[in-house]
């Protein structure tokens, strides 16, 4: 069991990556703080955004856990890879896609809904499929020597995966938002807003290959 930690490490890194992406939360938090001219509006934004993200990830975790009960591992890997490929294809076709029907005054429930949609449309959960499939089978099953498809994610493992990922997002998002709001302002976005969506699409393609060949 060497390198048992690598899937967990990737989960954290992906969460941090979402945390850095201006389009996924921190910029919305900063904008709300600036619009209302109060620090509280900034801080209040973090949790609804994080919970929305966790919900989007959680939906995928639950799907994967159920799929593991009924689909053979090899077939599941192929299916996951196919989904990732199709999704990356869609993102190449619709490069400027973004949610509609939101505004600056969505409120906390609106922020949750926005974050859920944004994370789902981004494929944040889908990206975790190869990692979820690489997590070691839960202990009880191992003890019994059952390594076939009953050896899936336990509910606790799934929850831990989603939460760890979201905690990384929350920490990075809050850090960037507070530093930008308190100190730097948003002017640097003009130069520094790299097309992270393009990088993300490439990562989705990479994840599809990893799923297929590991």
């Amino acid at each position: 069991m060497t390198r048992w930690w690598w899937p967990w490490g990737v989960l954290v890194l992906l969460g941090a990556y979402h945390g850095l992406n201006p389009g996924m939360g921190w910029l919305f938090a900063v904008a709300r703080g600036l619009q209302e001219r109060r620090r509280a509006a900034l801080w209040q934004s973090f949790l609804p955004i994080a919970i929305g993200h966790e919900a989007a990830i959680g939906a995928v975790v639950v799907l994967v856990a159920f799929a593991q009960l009924v689909i053979a591992p090899q077939a599941l890997r192929a299916g996951g890879a196919g989904l990732l490929l199709a999704f990356a294809g869609y993102r190449i076709y619709r490069q400027q896609a973004h949610p509609r029907g939101f505004g600056m005054r969505v409120g906390l429930r609106g922020l949750f809904g926005w974050s859920f949609l944004m994370s789902s449309a981004h494929g944040a959960g889908l990206m975790l499929v190869p990692i979820l499939l690489s997590l070691p089978p839960s202990g009880a099953n191992q003890d019994l020597g059952l390594v076939a498809y009953a050896a899936g994610l336990s509910p606790w493992e799934g929850l831990l995966a989603a939460t760890l990922h979201t905690a990384a997002l929350l920490a990075v998002m809050a850090l960037v938002a507070v530093v930008v709001y308190e100190r730097y302002g948003v002017a640097f976005l003009r130069r520094a807003w790299l097309n992270v969506d393009l990088i993300w699409t490439i990562a989705l393609l990479g994840a599809a290959l990893v799923t297929l060949f590991t």
Partner: protein, 460 residues
């Protein structure tokens, strides 16, 4: 459509940052060619260091006649940085130029060479009618989540007018914007307070009420628009109608504060039936309700009926006819065009309820016919105004709308474009080197990279 690796450099998070943008080197102006062939789009040299400064560099001629090109706008602008629908890697590249009479929308590519324009797509009237039920597209604004276009009415020439959305990737008509229009029937201009999720619309008349010229019967009955409407922008619902009074006829250009944290703006009224005066009103949010107050009134000037067109002879006066206004990016200076009297005014609106006049220039006018330092007498008057991002340059053209041009300037309106220098402390002077004159007419002007009426911002 190409995707950029970094955010488009012409997008600015806030109006304050946009004021630091480099000066424009070219300006785009709509060419209207009444009854003499197709309209077009002119590229003007706005680079003061260039030998061709103040002259037309090139012009694109449309493939059809009778479009009556009017207002236009960009496919994308600073609103692409808005956090709830961010897509900053789209390019500010295409000009969307609607024909107010033909209802076609030309999509014109400004790259790779902003001086050699080409049409890459035409949205036909039929598509707008089929998908949105609208006709006679007027104002376009690049919104945070699509391109918004207002329309004067339906394909039959009656109301209601409203707003439809174009997809900012494909320029396909996505459909009607309003989910619930409430009592709104007449349409003209629109803009928004992005920080307040609020959209405003103004009222002119249906196509049938305006296309054959101003109709004195409708006017004297107070039948042209006299309200502004307040809407919930994300929910697409009518919230409030504000009546300026039935004597206030034709409520046109809406100029909300650029700073998204400020909930006020200015709207111009063409004329009052009481005394032919024109006015500017300030709308503002107070206790959850939007209100409006008249802040500028410009009186009519007495005139010898022999100097007046038939339409005005009975009144023995020239109405100022405020047909366009514009607000500098710092929300400090409001510019007001008096197309009838040929006067162009600058007000300091630091206090939006107490404007203070800081500048005035005369050019053209129904009676005055004031000349540019390098021209003979001019007709038409200051009409479309555009203000550069840092607020130091103001561009003016003199065409209003063909059938109306002919009523108020029956000797045949001849087009001109001038540039004024605006003193940052207040005051206006005519730039002697910049004068374009033509047998054709000019309408809206936009500047390379954006200007005071092209972009909206989500950050203060």
């Amino acid at each position: 459509m190409a995707t950029l690796l970094k955010a488009d450099p012409t997008f600015y998070p806030s109006p304050k940052l946009a004021m630091q943008a480099p000066p424009e080197t070219v300006a785009y102006a709509v060419i209207v060619n009444p009854g003499k062939g197709p309209d077009g789009l002119a590229v003007l040299d706005a680079d003061a260091a260039s030998a061709g400064y103040g002259k037309v560099i090139s012009s694109l001629t449309m493939p059809n006649s009778g479009d009556e090109l009017h207002h236009f706008g960009w496919n994308a602008c600073s609103s692409a940085l808005c956090p709830y629908a961010a897509h900053p890697h789209i390019e500010r590249r295409y000009l969307l130029v609607p024909g107010l009479r033909s209802s076609r929308i030309y999509v014109i590519d400004t790259k790779p060479d902003g001086r050699a324009l080409k049409i890459v797509k035409t949205v036909e009237a039929q598509e707008i009618a089929n998908r949105a039920g609208y006709s006679r597209p007027h104002t376009t604004h690049c919104g945070p989540d699509g391109i918004y276009v207002s329309a004067l009415g339906g394909p039959d020439g009656d109301g209601p007018g409203g707003i439809f959305i174009l997809d900012h990737n494909t320029f396909e008509v996505r459909g009607r914007w309003e989910l619930d229009r409430g009592p709104q029937h007449l349409a003209y201009d629109f803009w928004w307070h992005l920080g307040y999720d609020t959209l405003l619309t103004s009222e002119w008349g249906t196509p049938k009420m305006v296309e054959d010229g101003v109709n004195p019967e409708i006017l004297l009955k107070g039948g042209y628009g006299h309200q502004i409407h307040v809407w919930d922008l994300p929910k697409r619902r009518h919230r409030q109608a504000i009546d300026l009074g039935p004597e206030q006829q034709m409520v046109l250009e809406l100029r909300p504060a650029h700073d998204p944290t400020r909930a006020y703006g200015f709207v111009g009224v063409v004329t009052s039936l009481k005394d032919l005066s024109a006015s500017v009103w300030t709308w503002y949010l107070e206790g959850g309700t939007w209100k409006v107050r008249k802040v500028i009134e410009i009186p009519a000037e007495p005139a010898d009926p022999k100097q007046l067109p038939p339409l005005l002879q009975g009144f023995k006066a020239v109405p100022p006819l405020v047909t366009d206004i514009n607000l500098s990016l710092d929300d400090r200076f409001l510019y007001v065009s008096c197309w009838g009297t040929g006067q162009f005014l600058q007000y300091d609106v630091s206090d939006p309820f107490n404007p203070r006049q800081t500048g005035s220039v005369h050019l053209g006018g129904i009676v005055r016919r004031a000349a540019h330092p390098d021209s003979g007498p001019l007709n038409g008057g200051p009409q479309m105004v555009e203000v550069s991002r840092e607020g130091k340059r103001v561009y003016l053209s003199n065409g209003l709308y063909n059938s109306w041009d002919d009523q108020f300037y029956p000797d045949g309106l001849k087009g001109w474009i001038v540039r004024l220098d605006a003193d940052p402390a207040g005051g206006l002077s005519i730039d002697r080197r910049f004068l374009v004159q033509s047998e054709q007419r000019y309408h809206q002007i936009h500047l390379e990279g954006g200007d005071a009426s092209s972009d909206s911002y989500c950050f203060a």
